[in-house]
């Protein structure tokens, strides 16, 4: 007979414990990789603004004048692209979702204003390989191999230090701007 095929399952379910959790009395457990919200280590942040430019939801705002980094957590889509793009790796995405609220608000982090650091190439050791210019996220460095020229556009530079770490000859150093 092809009836009552589901009987055994029903009986088993009747005498076993519920599969659901007694939420919210028991808290939900999130795995380690859960993408909850973006966190920033503001001490390492250099306010370069690359996260804000690349955010698909345009939810991160970086104000270099006021020296602040802010995020609207309600607009954030937790994609993790900013974490991927951050040159200083000071952004992380950690478990824990934003609590619901009646109004949207922006979380702002302030960084004490410090003297801007800019890269300077040591012309004696530089081989004009143009690696720094290629790495620069703002295209602030121009290198001309024929004329042996290494130039920096100070206004564009965001002091990320990528040029310093990418230089094969270690001839770039970050110095305080005069």
């Amino acid at each position: 007979m092809a009836v009552m095929k589901f009987k055994n399952v029903v009986l088993k379910n009747l005498f076993s414990k519920p599969v659901t959790k007694n939420y919210p009395a028991e808290p939900a457990v999130y795995p380690e990789r859960s993408r909850g919200h973006v966190e920033i280590n503001i001490d390492d942040c250099i306010l370069c603004g690359i996260c804000g430019m690349n955010c698909p939801a345009r939810t991160i705002k970086v104000d270099r004048k006021a020296s602040t980094w802010s995020i609207d957590r309600f607009d954030c889509i937790q994609c993790g692209y900013c974490v991927e793009k951050c040159p200083k790796k000071c952004l992380t995405i950690v478990p824990g979702y934003q609590e619901p609220g009646a109004q949207k608000f922006t979380a702002t982090y302030e960084k004490p204003i410090t003297v801007k650091k800019i890269p300077q190439a040591d012309m004696d050791t530089c081989v004009f390989c143009t690696l720094c210019a290629k790495k620069c996220p703002k295209e602030a460095i121009t290198v001309d191999r024929a004329e042996k020229k290494w130039e920096l556009n100070k206004d564009l530079c965001v002091s990320c230090g990528l040029c310093e770490s990418s230089c094969p000859k270690k001839s770039i150093s970050m110095v305080e701007e005069k």
């Binding site: 055994n8 599969v19 889509i77 937790q78 994609c79 692209y81």
Partner: protein, 359 residues
């Protein structure tokens, strides 16, 4: 001659998770004709290519749909990789395949639950969704998201699955297979279920071909068609057959999907056994220039991704043709001659995903 009447069906209906509207022309209780009307959730995602660069578009495209989101991101990335002639490392390909097959397991289990709900078998519905929950937990463990994974990028994937996690996936998948074997008996052999499915919504092989049906809907009519045989991602290294059924009715569609879950679980096992070591992504430099079509087998059928780039970081055009778009004409055909009471069930058998369709 019987009296004709027109009954509007949807956009709000208990069986529909998403809005679609049908005008049903009835003769007594029989449907004579159905006229579809979509466009309630058109968001214009494709036109966002003007505002988001080609890397950001990955995150936009995967938000087309909440169920097949991974495959949308993967299809889009593969189309850009094809334009830029980037070769994804082997491990990246295998990881993509695992996630894609897990998406298939979860999508088909979701569909089985909805089907059970549509013919009024509530406890079977819960049983299916309970199994699906395990897949969602695996997604959260490996990618960090339950529906939107955000692990694809042009050139590979962002997150690796380590050996411990791979073993967890394997064990859980075996559990699901064991549970599914019990549930399959109810779907395939139970008298009441069979009487709701057998002979309902017949679409012959010829009709299915002439109406351009895709995916499990076409395979249930005996058409051998599966985009995985084009060998994208790691499918070229894996061993699988095209699952078809000659029933041509709702029962056949249910059978095909259940068998595809077992097949997907088997494919995940093969991937884990063969998993190569190495990088998960290649570094991609520059902007794409050119155009490419990529076809993929989504849980619902063939999806086509078209990208056209002009050398700047913004694409010229991005298009997604989703399987439901191809299956709507087939649905209209199956509705002709069906009982009015079977209409919700028949709409469900194409596994409609309306927000995908309208984008």
């Amino acid at each position: 001659m019987a009296k004709q009447s027109i009954i509007p069906f949807g956009p709000q209906h208990p069986v529909l998770p998403e809005p679609i509207h049908l005008d049903l022309v009835l003769e007594d209780e029989k449907v004579v004709e159905a006229i579809p009307s979509i466009g309630f959730v058109h968001r214009g995602l494709e036109s966002l290519v003007d505002k988001k660069d080609f890397n950001e578009m990955t995150y936009v495209i995967e938000r087309t749909c909440g169920i097949c989101s991974f495959m949308h991101g993967m299809g889009y990335c593969e189309s850009i990789e094809k334009i830029m002639q980037v070769e994804v490392p082997n491990r990246g390909k295998y990881l993509r395949t695992i996630w894609a097959e897990m998406s298939r397991v979860h999508s088909h289990l979701l569909w089985l639950g909805l089907l059970a709900d549509a013919f009024g078998f509530e406890s079977l519905f819960y049983q299916c969704w309970r199994m699906r929950e395990k897949v969602l937990d695996l997604f959260e463990m490996t990618t960090g998201g339950r529906c939107i994974f955000s692990v694809n990028k042009v050139g590979g994937v962002l997150k690796d699955i380590d050996d411990v996690m791979l073993q967890t996936i394997k064990v859980t998948m075996d559990d699901i297979a064991a549970d599914l074997r019990i549930v399959r008996k109810t779907f395939m052999k139970d008298y009441t279920v069979e009487s709701r499915l057998r002979g309902v919504g017949i679409l012959t092989k010829e009709q299915a071909h002439n109406l351009g049906a895709a995916g499990p809907f076409a395979r249930a009519s005996g058409i051998k068609m599966d985009m995985r045989t084009t060998g994208y991602a790691a499918y070229g290294d894996l061993d699988f057959d095209i699952i078809t059924s000659d029933e041509c009715d709702s029962y056949g569609r249910c059978e095909v999907r259940i068998n595809e879950i077992f097949q997907a679980i088997d494919l995940i096992g093969q991937c884990i056994d063969k998993m190569p070591k190495g990088d998960i992504a290649t570094i991609v430099k520059g902007n794409p220039n050119g155009e490419a079509f990529v076809r993929m087998e989504q849980p619902r059928g063939e999806a086509v991704y078209f990208s056209k780039a002009n050398g700047s970081k913004f694409l010229e055009r991005m298009r997604v043709r989703t399987p439901t778009f191809a299956n709507i004409p087939g649905l209209l055909e199956t509705l002709k001659g069906a009982d009015f009471a079977d209409v919700p069930l028949l709409i469900l058998t194409i596994d409609p995903c309306i927000s995908c369709t309208e984008r």
